[in-house]
Amino acid sequence: MAKFNEHIQLGEPVLPAKGIEKALQAGALKDQRIIALLEDMGFPGIDWWTENMPERMVEVGIAEQNGAVVAGALAAEGFIPVLYSFLFANVGRALNQVRQSILVDRFNVKIIGREGAWGEVGISHNTIEGVGFSRVLPNLIILNPADVVEAEKATEAMLQYHGPVLLRQESSPTPVRVFTDDYPFNIGKAYSVKDGTDATIIATGYMLTEAIAAAELLEDEGLDVGVLDMCTLKPLDDAAIIEAARRTGAIVTAENASIIGGLGEGVAAVLCENLPAPLVRVGIEDEFSQSGLITPERDDLKIHFGLRAEDLVVSVKVCIAKKERSRCRD
């Protein structure tokens, strides 16, 4: 059994959306400036909002470009709009409006992007390229929580922070509960789930579940592999990445998103400029998502894209072999 750090207590699968709902409701009760901005896609805990705060819900319909402009205008008047829809729509379709009406003036708008990875809605809505097209936007913080607890903490921190934030919501597959209730979440700070000496898996979002399982499988084979949770995809925690490379000398990144423009490329840039180390990027290659059967028991897309713990095990071994080869050359 692998030894995990403080604040880790593995549990059953729970939808991260539950944590987002809880934090949004608590935030709305505390701060009257928070407005739910809907784009014909509901809202986390919509029944609670309809019953308790109907005057603080604005439905803009399937008009996401308009939604981004309305959000910017509400923020300019001192409100804190929470814009909720599919990531391909509320940022992807409205990219120009998000850029011009929210980010340029750094308005205090919160965006929750559903199906930032994939869900049952299929290829048209699964936005695996969403992290890539969002990371290039200045002034935007990007959060990608790994479980229900981190989703709640990240949503709470998002509402506390003054400025634009994108929160990528995992809809499926459902990650296991990883963190304890007193887990100290901090925007921009990675959290070491497990220390290791042979390699480090830097995981984000759902892939933390698979990274933990991979580290346990590797321990059975005598390899001591660390796991670093990188919830904040922008700005990345450069210091934690460099420290992981210094300590283990081999880095594997894990994301259920395109490897282009995502966590892997961000980590690669940090390593190349500071402490070059062997790296393997695990994610989705240069392709669009697919439609597939997704249930708690079976996730066709996770298998299709090679994102299971067993796949990560192979990548960690490849990375450790790269490290050994580079030592031989030295």
Partner: protein
């Protein structure tokens, strides 16, 4: 160049974005003082007083000639 402003007491990230003094065209956020004002000059996490003396400002980017 990007800039980060952290609470000096609890390390909460208070600002992340373009380096404030390099914003030539957009003046919605003209200074660090304005950013701290968004929080009422009180850290929302730890309750510590926020002033230019109590926060840590980090500017990151490529070093340039004359910078």
């Amino acid at each position: 160049m990007s800039e980060k402003i952290f609470c000096g007491k609890c390390d909460m990230l208070l600002y992340f974005g373009e380096e404030l003094k390099r914003r030539l065209y957009m003046r919605a956020i003209p200074s660090e003082e304005t950013v701290l004002g968004f929080y009422g000059n009180v850290c929302p996490r730890c309750g510590g007083a926020l002033s230019e003396q109590t926060v840590n400002v980090v500017v990151e980017g490529r070093a340039k000639h004359g910078a």
